[in-house]
């Protein structure tokens, strides 16, 4: 799946987690802008992992701060 298709799929998956209806751009941060706590992060990561059949380890998660970085990482992890 290329970056555009990956971004489209992630946009679908993020929706139920974006409870405050914040307009998400590639620069949107998870902790800062979306104010997600660690449990929400875990559930969201699990949803992405299950949909794309990938692992995003804690080590990789530490490098992902904003939405654009997530799309890059998932695109890359699909190999």
């Amino acid at each position: 799946m290329d970056r555009a298709a990956t971004a489209e799929k992630i946009a679908e998956l993020v929706e139920p987690f974006n409870k405050k209806g914040i307009a998400i751009t590639e620069a949107t941060t998870f902790a800062g802008d979306l104010e997600w706590d660690s449990l929400t992060v875990m559930d969201f990561v699990a949803a992405i992992e299950d949909d794309f059949d990938i692992i995003i380890s804690m080590n990789q998660q530490a490098e992902i701060e904003n939405y654009g970085q997530l799309i890059d990482a998932v695109t890359k992890l699909q190999g």
Binding site: L39, D53, I55, S57, M58, Q60
Partner: protein
């Protein structure tokens, strides 16, 4: 200059606001005098202890105390050295032998604390390119062990077998895999479906480490823990445990049947670069472990206490962490930190000590009053405790 302490400002403010309300500081209690495993004088009051993890009440066992006193006289107050240099005394070997006998395993390694046992074993065993798959509610010492090693760390939802299996199957072929589970999870006192989880872990080529800190001495026919109780201890590669709960002193350990286990003594940094435990601690631990092998009656009484307290609190209208008593930990769920702290203080005024647990130590941002029972609590004390909870709960408006 940037003050490196600015990052703690939110916590400092939260504490200030809590204490400004006049509540006694839940994290600054002093035990002035300890009368028995279940009673102490705290902040000037005689208090029933219901938050000590002293499950088997071994801290005042006369044989245990005698062994410690004798060791102080015979070997002195401390070893002043690492286990691999001048810090291995006869007592350390005897303690490791007691652990091998207790668990029926080939190897045992004693660490200076339970925290260091997890830190050392996990960080040494799982290195760069390996994968650790672990329960999201794992203890801080497990997480810190993961962080200290260079393995890829992959958490899964608490006790979720399917989520664990999916992650194991996604790990690249050929990579080393370590699954880390706990027998009893200390926050809610719930147990893991170890038999099924270990079967799945093994089917997917993983080694398995189980932390049995909160089950040793109490759960299982011989007190070996939840894995023994579920009949899967033989499939566990590494059991981690502690002396600071049922054993009643301090220290940590790992037992295993792995044929190359002994090499860890040379490569495990939290084992090598710290002083070994004092001889008195080794002799008290050894005596306690050997007595715990024959603790069936005490185990039965502890189960009765746990079931009675669980039912009593549930009947009074409290919300508990588990649908039934699964361990010697009963977690009472509080609506928020403010009322949790108020309830904690009301119980202390009644003469009862429990643990106040709050995020980030707790799952799902919960505030808990965590009760841990002791085999030395009498049936009458348990009834007294239920009465104290009822009065405090009504005074604070929780029930």
């Amino acid at each position: 200059m940037t003050d490196l302490f600015s990052k703690f400002d939110p916590l400092i403010e939260q504490r200030r606001a809590l204490l400004a309300g006049g509540v006694e500081d839940p994290f600054n209690l002093v035990m002035e005098r300890v009368i028995s495993p279940t009673v102490a004088v705290c902040n000037g009051r005689e208090t029933i202890l219901l938050g000590t993890y002293n499950y088997m009440g071994m801290t005042f066992d006369p044989d245990v105390i005698a062994a410690g006193k004798e060791a102080l006289d015979d070997y002195g107050s401390g070893t002043t050295g690492s286990r691999v240099l001048n810090g291995t005394y006869a007592g350390h070997k005897a303690c490791e032998q007691a652990l091998k006998d207790f668990y029926g395993m080939d190897h045992a390694m004693v660490f200076s604390t339970g925290y260091q046992a997890n830190l050392g074993i996990i960080s040494t065993m799982a290195g760069k390119g390996d994968y650790i798959v672990l329960d999201i509610d794992s203890h801080a010492s497990i997480w810190d062990g993961c962080k200290m090693g260079d393995a890829e760390v992959v958490p899964f939802k608490h006790n979720d077998i399917v989520a664990m299996e999916k992650r194991l199957k996604r790990i690249p072929e050929g990579a080393g895999k370590l699954v880390i589970l706990e027998g009893v999870y200390s926050m809610l006192g719930d147990i893991a479906p170890l038999k099924e989880m270990i079967r799945v872990a093994k089917e997917n080529g993983a080694m398995v480490l189980v932390d049995e800190a909160h089950s040793m001495g109490f759960i299982g026919p011989n007190g070996r823990g939840v894995a023994e109780d579920q009949g899967c201890l033989d499939d566990v590669d590494f059991v981690i445990g502690t002396f600071s709960k049922s054993v009643g002193t301090v220290g940590g350990f790992c037992v295993s049947n792995h044929p190359k286990f002994e090499i860890l003594r040379l490569v495990c940094r939290p084992y090598v670069f710290t002083a070994s435990l004092p001889p008195s601690v080794m002799h008290t631990a050894t005596t306690s472990i050997r007595k715990l092998m024959h603790g069936a009656n005490k185990r039965a009484h502890l189960w009765e206490n746990s079931k009675t307290l669980h039912k009593g609190l549930r009947d009074k209208g409290f919300t508990l962490g588990t649908p039934e008593a699964q361990s010697a930990i009963i977690a009472v769920i509080m609506p928020d930190l403010e009322r949790g702290a108020a309830m904690w203080e009301a119980l202390l005024h009644e003469g009862l000590y429990v643990n106040l647990a709050r995020p980030p130590a707790t799952p799902a941002g919960m505030t808990l009053l965590r009760c841990s029972l002791c085999a030395e609590h009498s049936a009458e004390q348990v009834q007294t405790i239920i009465g104290m909870f009822e009065r405090a709960g009504k005074a604070v408006g929780i029930i």
